[in-house]
Symmetry: C2
Subunit: 337 residues, 2 copies
């Protein structure tokens, strides 16, 4: 009995460690368990994270007054109470305009692990990305001047910028978006999957381990790789092959490539694909097999992968709802048109 137990234990340890080895060879890496290692991974060397900047960035992220209507904040489409997205096929913004390319809002959670931002990867980091939606007409529709005027109209905001960047800070549009980007860098969600890769053998169930193995064996990790299980532009050109290519006019980057989305919290971020046409995780898995890997993923494999994907649902940072500075007579008025 004792011997049997030892053997079982050894096998299970061996399995866990060989699975970890497989994962590593497939280019998968966990969110580091050590705070120091994590900070190194998410920090912006040119504008290092500090408590003050993060707190300010959070306020700006939640402040609808940055938009032209003063009703739409970053959190409207990248809702941190949900999966870091809006749960719509294609986002709705200013004047109830749907994204003209029928693009799905990607989750902001773990977006720091993406090699680049936007579906065509046109922004190199979160700071650059944040400049887009605030100004885009179908999204927040604001001008740079509006944003700067809103922020500088409130002494409490000016004070927070000074605390974060020093007395002589120049509050520019870019300073605002840089600070939002910094806050977004902190939105990482370690999951049972990470605990497993970081050495906790029992963080994943047997079924989830099997699913991870299937995920690797079938080649899913060739695109969904790295810390983010996605986030790079190394997908196969999908033009013409995807069955919903006729929805929206998005054609990818200059090479026709669409960014590989992160799979972290995928169970919370339906609908799927760049145009949000797939509402079902099983269908998404099978479609990806067909389009990207040229294989038919059978029912059992699909279920197994799906089971694994649930182990990517992470622990979200607990955030206090920010209390925003009050508007003053100098604060620009909302414009609804």
């Amino acid at each position: 009995m004792k011997i049997l137990l030892s053997i079982t234990l050894a096998t299970s340890l061996l399995t866990a460690s060989s699975l970890r080895e497989d994962a590593k060879n497939a280019g998968l890496s966990p969110i580091p368990a050590s705070q120091t290692a994590l900070l190194k991974l998410i920090d912006n060397p040119k504008n290092p994270l500090t408590k003050e900047k993060i707190a300010l960035g959070k306020k700006l992220y939640f402040d609808p007054r940055l938009s032209k209507s003063e009703l739409i904040s970053c959190n409207t489409c990248h809702n941190l109470s949900e999966g870091g997205d809006d749960g719509l096929e294609a986002s709705i913004g200013h004047k109830w305009t749907q994204n003209p390319h029928h693009l799905n809002a990607p989750t902001v959670y773990n977006a720091v692990f993406n090699d680049s931002q936007f579906w065509d990867g046109r922004a190199k980091d979160l700071e650059k990305q944040a400049q887009g939606p605030i100004q885009a007409h179908p999204e927040m529709a604001a001008t740079k001047t509006h944003v700067v005027n809103v922020v500088t109209s409130m002494p409490a905001y000016v004070n927070s910028f000074q605390k974060a960047y020093g007395k002589d800070v120049k509050i520019s549009f870019e300073k605002v978006t840089d600070t939002i980007g910094l806050f977004e860098r902190t939105l990482v969600t370690p999951a049972p999957y990470d605990d497993f890769l970081n050495g906790q053998d029992n963080a994943l169930s047997q079924a989830q381990k099997k699913g991870l193995k299937t995920f690797i064996t079938l080649g899913c990790a060739s695109c969904h790789t790295g810390v983010g299980l996605g986030g790079s532009m190394n997908a196969i050109n999908i033009t013409g092959t995807y069955k919903y290519m006729n929805v929206g006019d998005f054609k990818g980057d200059k090479n026709g490539l669409v960014k590989v989305p992160t799979l972290r919290n995928i169970a919370q971020t339906a609908p799927y694909f760049h145009n949000g046409k797939i509402w079902n995780l099983k269908t998404a898995i099978q479609e990806m097999g067909r389009i990207q890997l040229g294989v038919k993923i059978n029912e059992e494999q699909t279920k197994s992968i799906e089971t694994f994907l649930h182990a990517l649902t992470g622990r979200k940072p607990l955030l206090n709802l920010p209390l925003l500075p009050e508007s003053t007579q100098k604060t620009p008025k909302p414009e609804l048109n």
Copy 2:
């Protein structure tokens, strides 16, 4: 020197206590300092507050999936990061429709102290009120069925309802809105004004005390009275007298009366009046003098009252951002039209 100090102190104590007496005689009462007394004031005897119900109500309050588009939550127009409102003249809802009567979203903070809800007082309490905007076509535009289907599609929500109301709970639309109403009852913001009325002589500055005195003397407290400094239908009929009566078609209740709004956090809830036409607190004070009291409030009095009103900016409850249950395949899909 010692004698002088004693006299000054005595005068100041006398002033404070006589000002408190004036306030009491004018019908003003503080948010109680004692938690027991406060609970008695805000509780719903038919559905008593519990930790479980409040936590669930908070989730529902922040859940945009209760709306037809699944993009608009209670918090969209009654934003707890701002003044508990949206900072617009008249709210924007489903399909970017502005409130057809050009009505301004009242703050949800301290709304529990209102005698009745809505500008025409047609809902007796917050629970009844919550039924309105969720179903109103220019607001959240949902059907009762949509709301029930959304909530019951998520095991985590069902579980929370069972924890809050017992295993046999029937999750109806009214159960959802009742629970939202319960959460809203807890949104009270004690202010320096309350500290003063509760006995802390120095909670108000001399200028604020003077302002309170002016506020009472001029008769402002005849309408802005009670714990909420407002909240009743005892205003004068304003039909025809208000200079922006031509904005919106709202004519008040059956007697032409418009509910007196709370003055708590008034510095954070511009624009003012039922149709949000006044952006400036000074102008609002003077207009109210003209319309309601038939007096011209001079510059000095206006400034004094304004100084006092800032002492009504309260301490908001610190809330964790709720993390919402994840949608399932049974969750109804968003409808944008």
